[in-house]
């Protein structure tokens, strides 16, 4: 059985998603876009174009470029909305019996056929994306769509070769995307401000079923109006400043349009931005540049009336549902324009509650449709809810650093193996100190357990290989094992309830980590630098010993001086000095290594020694507390 895809067939743009491994994923179109313009055209050469390609030629082929066909679907010719659109759109809307048709090229098409072209492209792109045939879909429609509009949408799917498993309401899809069906008896407001339309719906959830209590909106209000307001203001400002009217200059308008869109987005995250368009135009006096600073406050002033226009429909919708703003439990934002802080603020003010965020407002409807598709296809089941580890898990290594093996938010079941080594020569045991938490140092994290692996054959430090494995099963039970590869000796520990921390505890630990991130990082760097210095001192001494008299006396002297210098300063606090000294010694000892290599290039044995010289310090050597003390005594 193939996949059931979810399609948000929008007035301006469409999007689609599918369940994959139990999670909804947006399907990108063949051009790589996450949304596709709901535009169909017959080009002058008679070719059928859909999406971006149709949009790009709209200006020169407006009679044959059909957009916003969703406003017409399932409506009779006499419908006031159709009559209104006839005056607004540049393509021809004609009467065909009692039905509405649009003219494209030589022929007339029903809105279903035009929508089918859009769905057909989406289907083909989904097949390319998924690498399999797609024959079934869930399609969303506005909550106010009547039976005839729903049927027509279903027919459009059929024409496109899709079996429409279900038609669901857009606000319901949005609620599904936020998992609200899992809650009980809630009242939900869905505020949908898209590219060209505004819808508000009041839903009531009971027994996992959504009922649309009321809807309202403005079929001709959206993001495009916002852009237009910004462009008009820029033209006005420029006229005031430079005395030139840009409104007739196509090239200038294009650049203004791009900047207006960019500005709108930029001012969603920053308080002020500069619109900078050099050489926007020229007159007898020479080239002219546009350079205008705009604050978020100014933008909000410019589009304030548009945002305000959404309030009345909200009031009406509430009234029709017989509810007060305070009765609403959840508010969902849909449509790209709801990213604007001003819009969020107005919504919050009206309903007296923070709206839900987290799902991309351009994609939330398609995602909800995909979830519905997953339920219908039997793919979405509660049994397979995957869990994640709330905090990172790791072990303590040299310098009491907490070395993470499993990062937080990893989906379980999972397992991870890493090889560690000893920190001192002839160290025969290592302690595995199992830690949980985000902090860089062992002492700041929570100890889950500890054990000792002994019986490691004596060897120089860094040589023994201790394989440490972390394994978390689906129930959150953590098994940690350590195995010495040489002797085959193994020790393990089982820790149950490693994720049994309460949400509060997890959150507290996470916040602590965030708070201390900088100082921890610095401290860790210090430890790492010292570890590196230690390691280099060790290998240098070994190299010198191995080299014996194969090294020129002067080279040896040089290394020895630098070695002493590093030894002298390595426990100090001047990191820069340690790093510099480390670098110098490293270079000097490399010279010695190279000389040795030349000398003994015929003998194989020395190759190995040479390799060792390059040996980077092992990142996470397991510390044995006793050995560490021993080393200090040395």
């Amino acid at each position: 059985m193939g996949k059931i895809i979810g399609i948000d067939l929008g007035t301006t743009n469409s999007a689609m998603a599918v369940m994959e491994g139990g999670e909804p994923t947006i399907i990108t179109n063949s051009e790589g876009g996450r949304t596709t313009p709901s535009i169909v055209a017959e080009s002058k050469s008679g070719e059928r174009l859909v999406g971006q390609a149709a949009k790009r030629q709209g200006v020169i082929n407006y009679e044959n470029t059909i957009f916003s066909v969703k406003r017409l679907i399932g409506r009779s010719f006499d419908d006031p909305e159709v009559q209104r659109d006839i005056k607004l759109v540049p393509y021809k809307i004609v009467k065909s019996g009692n039905h509405t048709k649009v003219k494209m090229g030589e022929k007339e098409y029903s809105p279903e056929e035009v929508s089918a072209s859009i769905l057909g492209k989406l289907k083909a792109d989904a097949e390319a994306f998924l690498g399999e045939k797609v024959t079934e879909a869930v399609i969303t429609v506005p909550a106010y769509f009547n039976d005839s509009q729903r049927q027509a949408t279903k027919d459009a799917g059929k024409i496109a070769g899709l079996e429409v498993k279900r038609i669901i309401n857009e606000p319901t899809a949005a609620a599904l995307a936020y998992g609200l069906d899992k809650k009980k008896d809630e009242k939900i407001a869905v505020y949908d401000l898209g590219g060209g339309t505004f819808d508000v719906s009041i839903l009531e959830l009971g027994d996992g079923v959504f009922e649309v209590k009321s809807t309202n909106g403005d079929t001709h209000l959206g993001g495009d109006d916002f852009d237009q307001h910004i462009i008009e203001w820029l033209i006005e400002e420029f006229k005031k400043d430079q005395g030139v009217d840009l409104s007739k200059d196509t090239a200038a308008l294009q650049r203004l349009k791009e900047e207006a869109e960019k500005t709108k987005i930029e001012l969603s995250s920053s308080k002020e931005t500069e619109i900078n368009i050099p050489f926007i135009t020229a007159d007898q006096t020479g080239p002219k540049h546009l350079n205008i600073k705009i604050t978020r406050a100014k933008l909000e002033d410019l589009v304030g009336e548009l945002v305000k226009k959404t309030i009345e429909p909200c009031e009406k919708a509430l009234k029709d549902a017989g509810l007060k703003a305070s009765d609403i439990n959840e508010i969902i934002l849909v449509g790209g324009m709801t990213r604007m802080p001003k819009v969020q603020e107005v919504v919050k003010e009206f309903f007296g509650k923070e709206p839900l965020k987290g799902v991309n407002p351009d994609e939330v409807v398609a995602i909800g449709a995909a979830i519905q598709g997953g339920v219908l296809g039997g793919e979405v089941k509660d049994v397979l809810l995957l869990d994640v580890t709330p905090l990172s898990l790791g072990i303590e290594t040299l310098g009491s650093v907490s070395t993470k093996l499993i990062e937080r938010n990893t989906t379980v079941p999972t397992s991870k193996t890493e090889v560690f080594s000893t920190a001192a020569d002839n160290q025969t045991s290592v302690e595995i100190h199992v830690l949980q938490g985000e902090r860089e140092f062992a002492t700041d994290n929570k100890t889950l357990g500890r054990f000792i692996l002994d019986g490691i054959p004596p060897a120089p430090r860094g040589i023994p290989q201790v394989e440490v494995t972390f394994d978390i099963d689906a129930n959150g039970i953590l098994n940690v094992s350590a195995k010495d590869k040489a002797s085959g000796k193994e020790q393990k520990i089982t820790i149950s309830g490693s994720s049994a921390l309460s949400d509060d505890e997890v959150e507290k630990m996470r916040q602590e980590a965030e708070k201390h991130a900088d100082e921890d990082k610095k401290k860790k760097e210090t430890v790492e630098t010292k570890n590196m210095a230690d390691s280099l001192i060790y290998t240098t001494e070994k190299t010198l010993k191995d080299a014996g008299d194969k090294v020129k006396e002067e080279d040896k002297k040089d290394v020895e001086t630098k070695l002493e210098e590093l030894k002298r300063i390595k426990d100090g606090d001047d990191m820069e000095a340690i790093k510099k000294s480390y670098q110098e010694l490293s270079e000097a000892v490399q010279k010695v290594g190279a000389a040795m290599y030349e000398e003994a290039s015929k003998s194989e044995g020395d190759d190995k020694k040479d390799d060792k010289k390059d040996d980077e310090p092992v990142e996470g050597e397991v510390v044995d507390e006793d050995k560490k003390d021993e080393k200090k005594k040395k």
Binding site: E20, G21, G22, S43, K44, L49, A53, A54, K55, R56, Q57, G58, V59, I60, N61, F129, L130, G131, E132, T250, A251, L253, Q254, R255, P278, F279, A282, G286, P287, G378, E379, K381, V383, L384
Partner: protein
């Protein structure tokens, strides 16, 4: 007969996991599906990764292109009396330098002026009356660019609708 005391029954139930048959089939199907999903996901991610590597710089280049455009505009508007000025020549050279960096990254211009309008390459911003045949681009309003084989910005163009107004 009391099933609880039927030895055979107990033996049978003991050896069988406590799952109904259709439940088992369901879980099996689910497992297969998740595995298939994962496999497809892996393949797609691999493909995306390759593409990502190749087009890693796209976003950055898209932000640099307007600067190049503006440089070109500046030079287009260069007053005649300044054309031989050495300082101006230096700035000119900087423009060439910037352009060369982008070319080395695989950027190339889309040819527009005088070409036939093509939705794959161009975006029409206006239709104009002109002596050139209908459907031919009369003016490029904004340059279009390709990065290697991918169009990263369509050229914005004015297109001829022929000599006479036919609206």
């Amino acid at each position: 007969m009391d099933k609880k005391n039927d030895l055979n029954y107990i033996k049978k139930t003991k050896n069988k996991p406590n799952l109904k048959k259709d439940e088992l089939t369901e879980v099996k199907n689910l497992l297969l599906r998740v595995r298939a999903d994962f496999d497809n996901y892996r393949k797609r991610t691999q493909k995306e990764k390759e593409l990502f590597g190749e087009y890693l710089n796209t976003d950055l280049i898209l932000r640099i292109i307007p600067i190049l455009d503006n440089f070109k505009l500046a030079i287009k508007h260069l007053p005649n009396e300044l054309k031989d000025n050495d300082w101006v020549k230096g700035v000119w050279q900087i423009e060439k330098q910037l352009e060369q960096v982008l070319i080395d990254e695989g950027l190339s211009e889309i040819q527009s002026s005088g070409a036939k309008f093509d939705t794959d390459l161009h975006e029409a911003v206006e239709e104009v009356t002109s002596g050139t045949p209908p459907g031919i681009i009369t003016e490029e309003v904004m340059k279009g660019y390709k990065l290697k084989n991918k169009i990263i910005r369509h050229a914005k163009v004015k297109v001829s609708k022929g000599e006479k107004e036919n609206g």
